[in-house]
Amino acid sequence: MQTFIIKRLLQSILVLFVLTFLVFLVIHLLPGDPLLLYTGQSTAASLTPEQLHNLRVEYGLDKPLLVQYFVWIYNVFQGDMGKSIFYNDKVSTLLAQRMPVTIHLGLTAILIGAIVGITFGVICALRRGKLIDSLLTFIANIGITAPGFWVGILMIYLFALQLHWLPTNGYTSPFKDFGMSTRQLVMPVFCLALFTLASMTRQTRSSMLEVVRQDYVRTAWAKGLKERVIVTRHVIKNGLIPVITMLGMQVRTVFGGSVLIETVFNVPGFGRLMVSAVTTHDYLIVQGGVLVIGVIVMVANLLVDISYGWLDPRIRYG
């Protein structure tokens, strides 16, 4: 188990280097002057060629690309990811401000989506073919097809503009005003959780149905075990593996969804930061942001893989 974890860890670190190098490459090979990454269009236009040249040397842009990359890595380890032109603030500060908001949103969405989704899926599997199965499966099918941002707009129209039950947009920290924070969160979390909920329901249902057909479950029935015991001790534990995989993938999906949802609901999180960075060509933020996201997703994947080893002993030694 130990070597398994260490191997996976090293692999993850390697992948992070590949990822950041790819991003670095793509950004620095942009058509146009790389100096614009650091100074911005308006400043650059007002400087003399000599001043521009001095700036280039100062930012190390005259060195080969690979060297520049390792300089950036070195700086990152010291906590310096550069400065944003648009926000006039350090990239690391911006990310530190925005990330907790998205994590708050995303974690809530994943938890709700997973808990409700898995429950629905188990119900569907156990009551297969009955009305509740058809109903929940239908809801799940709608959930994976509906585009999150459009559902968001629909909800704003209905719940905020027409019924005035919820605020249209915005975000407050739960530590400042828990009531307002929760009310503002209801719609964005729902939109974000919808896909997770739906795919969890579908995956749990099909995975449980699979397990229920197995011989050992049939033996348990024949032995006379109560349904509740069979479900908890055999069906759920064995059926959970594909479900956990899907759950791990939800971290990635939810962060992707936050890009759109945060824009619709005007939530000052990571997703919206990325959108504005990309729109204003503020690519230093993009570079740092991709690194942070990469780390988060890799950690999530690592945890999923480790939990496999715990759930299914064959994987540990196989």
């Binding site: 992948v15 707009i153 890009v259 991709v290 890799m298």
Partner: protein, 301 residues
């Protein structure tokens, strides 16, 4: 004594009866049948949009701006007086084009890389899979956004950006399928006979690994179309005056209180199309699943 019934060999080759078996499964289940019908309608709308649309989608008629749905304008008009219904129909073209293009890239690049990684293993596989891992560490929407912005907007760049976002899924699936197929005896036999690498991959491994990828292609079409709408919504995709469902939703956002149909209609269209692809994909997946053979009413009994 009763004559023993003669054993009849099917006149049809195994491949054809397999296909008709799959078709029978799909058509028996209402949802997947509905999905296929929706897909066909979608494609027809996209192709025949110029003939179906009552107005030119780019025609600006500002005096008639922001009209409610009426007999002259079925879904009303937008800020510049353009007919929403016509733009909706033309939006189907954009979606279909982007969908086919992006998934096409995903299939060609992704599956080729997967086949190479599975067949040659070793260093090639390691390099390819680490590259794919790096791509998958970033959410698809984010990587598509960044790539689309770096390349600039416009339909061609959106297709490339989305293609890159989906190819990792195809690569991984193809690789895992091909690795399994490689274990078969006929591969060993082929190698003993001296079959060349290229012929082995193309003629033997690829066709046998392909079926699950058909499901992925169907699902990915839905995913890509949604993602394109998302990108256009954010302003990174196809912007106005081009007719794209995503930018129509974005443009209509401002008029949510007065003219909600501007945002609702394209979103509904989007949902319908994706629903079609997902249901068809589900049906296909169940039809291809070897463990479900015989349980899906395929014989018509």
């Amino acid at each position: 004594m009763e004559p023993v019934a003669a054993i009849e060999f099917s006149e049809v080759s195994p491949k054809r009866s397999e296909f008709s078996r799959i078709m029978r499964v799909i058509f028996r289940r209402k949802l997947s049948l509905a999905g296929i019908i929706i897909i066909i309608l979608f494609i027809l709308t996209a192709i025949f949009a110029p003939w179906l649309a009552p107005y030119d989608p780019y025609l600006m008629d500002t005096p008639n701006q922001l009209q409610h749905p009426s007999l002259t304008h079925l879904l009303g008009t937008d800020l510049l007086g353009r007919d929403t219904f016509s733009r909706l129909l033309y939006g189907a073209r954009t979606s279909l084009l982007v969908g086919l293009g992006a998934v096409g890239i995903g299939v060609i690049v992704g599956q080729t890389l997967g086949l190479i990684a599975a067949y040659f293993e070793g260093v090639a596989s390691a390099v390819i899979m680490r590259f794919i891992d790096a791509l998958m560490a970033v959410p698809g929407m984010l990587s598509a956004l960044v790539l689309a912005s770096i390349l600039g907007g416009g339909i061609k760049n959106v297709i490339v950006a989305l293609g890159v976002a989906v190819l990792s899924g195809h690569c991984r699936l193809m690789r895992s399928q091909a690795l399994t197929v490689k274990q078969n005896d006929y591969v060993l036999a082929g190698r003993a006979m001296g079959v060349s690498d290229l012929r082995m991959i193309v003629r033997h491994i690829l066709p046998n690994s392909f079926p699950p990828l058909l499901v992925l292609i169907t699902m990915d079409l839905g995913v890509v179309i949604t993602a394109e709408a998302g990108l256009s919504f954010l302003g990174m995709g196809i912007a106005a005056p081009g007719a794209a469902w995503g930018s129509m939703v974005a443009d209509g956002y401002r008029y949510l209180l007065t003219l909600p149909v501007l945002s609702f209609a394209p979103g509904l269209a989007l949902m319908l199309v994706v629903f079609g692809f997902n249901m068809a994909g589900d049906g296909l997946r169940d039809a291809l699943d070897p463990r479900l053979r015989g349980t899906l009413g395929e014989t018509g009994k």
